[in-house]
């Protein structure tokens, strides 16, 4: 079964989507968004894997000089996943602080009772 990383990313995305669509509490919706973030980052790293590869670091690598560039894993998706993780952290922090302020203003954390913009 060599499809386990892709299947794991799809499963994480599915669980996060279930929490985002079907739950009513504000904190649970924020958690669902964070789980979707983890699934997408896992998918991005799993796309850049080479079979029997090693990490793209030259300090004490267990291969010889000639075949080093051919057995290393692709380094560019890993570098862009770092940026994606930090952006996910920023979104999650702002969503949770907005949830705290909404609870303080409305008295309840139910997403159906926050209708101040409608009327």
């Amino acid at each position: 079964m060599e499809l386990i990383p892709f299947l794991g990313a799809a499963l994480l995305f599915g669980i996060g989507l279930f929490a985002l669509v079907f739950k009513r509490n504000l904190i649970k919706i924020a958690m669902g968004l964070s789980i979707i973030d983890s699934g997408v980052n896992l998918f991005l790293i799993a796309l850049g894997y080479r079979s029997n590869g090693i990490a793209p670091i030259f300090t004490t690598a267990p291969v010889s000089n000639a075949q080093a560039a051919a057995t290393m894993v692709l380094p560019a998706p890993q570098a862009l996943t770092l940026t994606s993780i930090v952006i996910g952290l920023a979104v999650s922090a702002l969503m949770l602080s907005l949830a705290v302020l909404l609870f303080k203003h409305y008295g309840s954390a139910d997403a159906r009772k926050i209708r101040g913009l409608r009327e």
Partner: protein, 153 residues
């Protein structure tokens, strides 16, 4: 809110110095081993969050000054952009210190080697700036959410 009991305070104060040193190690060796600015900054911020939870908010405010974290964060981001501007003779973000023989400038042969900390040019300085910025930024977020919404005076 006040801190936790005496046992928690004693055990937490054992963990703080190794945690900070480990975070500084991950930041400093960013060009040799996996790690770098963002990862090491998060480790330092987690250790400071442990300090906050164990000792309470008032002791934490007295230990670390009132505006110290905000000033550190702004100065570190300013230093990061300043280092990027220093290489402007060729381009923005030019690595003008690598392979040059001055501050961090020793050359590295191709292939597997043990790693030389004197080697990568502008990259260790940028790691240091980004590490301070991430650590102080995350600590500000943790303090703001821990204190709740405060008393509106």
């Amino acid at each position: 809110m006040s801190g936790l009991s005496k046992i928690v305070k004693n055990v937490a104060s054992v963990f703080i110095v190794p945690g900070l040193i480990f975070g500084a190690y991950v930041v400093a060796h960013g060009h040799l081993t996996p790690g770098g600015g963002f990862q090491g900054g998060t480790i330092i911020a987690t250790t400071l969050a442990l300090l906050l939870v164990a000792f309470g908010e008032k002791s934490f405010r007295k230990a670390i000054g009132k505006n110290a974290l905000a000033m550190l964060e702004s100065l570190a981001l300013f230093g990061f952009i300043g280092i990027a501007f220093l290489g402007l003779q060729s381009s923005f973000f030019n690595n003008f210190l690598s392979n040059s023989g001055s501050l961090f400038g020793q050359s590295v042969q191709f292939g597997v080697n043990e790693g030389n900390i004197n080697s990568a040019g502008v990259i260790p300085l940028m790691n240091f700036m980004v590490g301070i910025e991430v650590a102080s930024g995350l600590t500000i977020i943790v303090i703001a959410m821990y204190s709740g919404w405060g008393e509106r005076k």
